[in-house]
Symmetry: C2
Subunit: 202 residues, 2 copies
């Protein structure tokens, strides 16, 4: 039997991290329809899509904040992306985090410590809607997306693609805000509630 | 670093459990106002209220269902309740589960195996609203409620108080249904999404 103690996450102030800029990372698709069509083509070739995303935590005023990438003026997403066929999910998430947030110089790679799985979402059809379970009667889901808590070191340098903005959004802003952040990101506060956050003020 | 593998929960068919009836367990309060007033009195005597609740899982048609206690025709709650001052949360949850769902005979006590903490909710004020984090600037929360996954054995006998109904509600019914189940119960599917459910068909 698993012990019911809560995992501990150290959270450092936003100000202990340094942010720079790098070349743009454009979205592969310019519309939702294009995106779903590309998913379908990939599914025919490689089967179910597996994607991994990171919950990166910082604190301001002793309240946890999550780092989100903003595209344009409204759409926000977690850093992460699709695994290659057969790729290990931890290694794949490190690769995706470096591609989205690390400097190009190999000397400046953040120490990505991939921690606990926080949630798993399923896409039953080639549609935008996802569920936190595989719905009954769905034998061939089209995507499985896993969210992991990443334990950041006390100091890091992040390089943000020019076309994106990196935002630190407080839990109280995400909570109950499905209109702005969608069903996956707006329920991160509930998924994180079992953790013990240790606010480290350096 | 914690390994990011998902915990496994065996889930047995609803039909492998037996249900009986026992004497009614009345609610202590007849209105929300009474309940909040009683909370205030207890807070003055004992400090922050700590409550523990159980997520009991069964399956039907290979889909996970949660056992909820229904009071009257609409209100549903998880089995559980308030800890005594200083009481251990695991022991306290076992005590509450036996009081709500076990036969009075000590020979028929279910094997309550209290597992993972699934979520923690905070009540900042003597009001009904709770949050999955302690809101900033709240130094004296009035209640902390913890939800635990309980690993049921393959066969058990449950005795349900006469004035309550025990319902097995599928995850797909809870999901995105805050109107019917409230914010705590309706996001249980997201909190459980990280688990690997093993449907055992006996």
């Amino acid at each position: 039997m698993v012990s019911p103690t809560s995992p501990v996450v150290n959270i450092y102030p936003l100000s202990s991290y340094t942010f720079g800029m790098k070349e743009p990372k454009m979205e592969k698709d310019t519309s939702v329809a294009d995106r779903l069509a590309r998913m379908k083509v990939n599914y025919m070739k490689e089967g179910m899509r597996t994607s991994v995303e990171a919950i990166l935590l910082v604190q301001e005023h002793n309240h946890p904040h999550i780092l989100l990438l903003q595209i344009g003026n409204t759409f926000c997403k977690l850093p992460g992306g699709r695994l290659k066929p057969g790729e290990n999910e931890i290694e794949g998430l490190k690769r995706k985090l470096s591609s989205k947030l690390a400097a190009n110089s190999l000397a400046h790679q953040p120490n990505w410590q991939i921690g606990e799985c926080a949630a798993v979402w399923w896409r039953p059809n080639f549609e935008t809607v996802m569920y936190p379970y595989c719905p009954p009667h769905i034998t061939k889901p089209k995507e499985c997306k896993k969210l992991f808590v990443v334990h950041l070191s006390e100091r890091e340098y992040f390089a943000v693609p020019k076309n994106l903005k990196l935002l630190a959004v407080p839990l109280f802003e995400l909570y109950d805000n499905v209109q702005r952040y969608g069903p996956v990101i707006s329920t991160i506060p509930q998924q994180l509630s079992r953790f013990q956050f240790k606010m480290v003020n350096s």
